[in-house]
């Protein structure tokens, strides 16, 4: 029971109140780069999930053997191994997706979110705790990434699921042709959309905190 409560709490934090992208603001490099279509987002999200989960588990297993001085190097090395594996798998089974994601797949090895989670948490925890933490944080990351992808693709190209669904991989058209704000699928639009999403998250969290504070005050009175 206590375990379930703890996991629920961790899930809430990872997905929302301490979301790696929207609240902790880490690992933004691939988020901005590949979020031009939902399909890319799914591919990148699953890759990050696999790499973080495996890296967290291995680093937690190795924590008793590696001295603290080599902590960072160990984390980088382990992440690099799993990133190489993920890249090779992606290239063999989903070559068009691998081409679209380009150099951002090898760059998962230096993703600041993955490195910070393995370095600060997995290195100091038991294997099961590290695995849960890795999975939850990666889910939060993937969720934020998918949200950004959906907004950018929908408002930018007017389609959803480009590369995966629709005729010839063009995606399901939702807005009329030429009506989308094309700049949103370009780099400038990526910065602007992410800014709006982070601002919206900060606004929601602030309102929640104010409501909680008001409820606590009432409870005291």
């Amino acid at each position: 029971m206590k375990m379930r409560m703890k996991i629920r709490q961790q899930l809430k934090e990872g997905l929302f109140t301490r979301n790696p992208v929207l609240v902790q603001q880490m690992g933004l490099c691939p988020v901005l780069a590949v979020s031009t279509s939902l399909c890319n987002g799914i591919g990148m999200g699953l890759s990050v999930l696999a790499v973080l989960l495996c890296s967290s588990v291995i680093v937690a297993l190795l924590r008793k053997i590696i001295p603290d001085r080599f902590r960072v190097l160990c984390c980088i090395a382990v992440t690099a191994i799993f990133t190489t594996a993920a890249g090779q798998l992606l290239q063999s089974f989903f070559p068009p997706l691998s081409d679209r994601l380009g150099i951002y797949v090898p760059l998962i090895a230096l993703n600041s979110m993955i490195l910070s989670r393995t370095e600060t948490f997995a290195f100091r925890s038991r294997v099961d705790a590290a695995a849960v933490d890795g999975a939850v944080q990666a889910l939060g990351y993937a969720m934020a990434l998918l949200l950004l992808c959906a907004v950018r693709e929908l408002l930018g190209s007017g389609t959803l699921g480009g590369g995966l669904l629709g005729a010839g991989g063009a995606g399901i058209r939702i807005l009329p042709e030429g009506a989308g704000l094309r700049v949103l699928v370009l780099p400038a639009g990526g910065f602007l959309t992410l800014a709006v999403l982070i601002a919206a998250t900060q606004y929601i969290l602030r309102r929640m905190a104010e409501k909680n504070a008001a409820a606590e005050k009432e409870a005291e009175l």
Partner: protein, 206 residues
Amino acid sequence: MNLASLLSVALGAILADNFIFSRFLGGSSFLDNSKTLDTAAGMGLAVMCAMSAASVLAWLIDKFVLIPLRLEFLQTFAYILIIVCLVQLAELLLRKPLPALCPKLGICLSAFCPKLDACLPSVRTSCAVLGVALLSTRSGLTFVESVVFGVAAGAGFLLAIVLFACVRERLEYSDCPKSFEGLPIALVSAGLIALAFSGFAGLQIR
């Protein structure tokens, strides 16, 4: 390979496909280290040197080790190894031997980039440095082109981070909505500068 193509590669890396405003490489280190002009200049110079060295070394390792031994799948691992060694070497040199061997250089460095030591760990995990290594080998450039690409990409990063740091210092006086304070308004500014840089898209010296 003539001057026009080299100039194309250089201008492309600095302006048309700027590593920050077009490719988002180095985003995290860029956003963390651009709050003041001092840190930004130090970080920019450090990353520029790292990128130039990484581009060249990656090309050499690829040509003489990875391809002959059919080990291309180890590209990521090999490049990360090179970068970590480079940064480690730089850290060791900057601490004692360099100031002792060449005190004038040490004084210059401490005057112009006071926070150089602090940014070296960021350089090690910067996507920009690994990114330039990967791009210079995957774009099929010649040796001279990869040197030019590495230096130009670094110059582009330096330009981007210095411009952004100045704008960010100006943001201190801005009066933005509470939800936008902090990273969001900085991202909006970066997006607007990226909009300006989009004018260089497709720049080619004919």
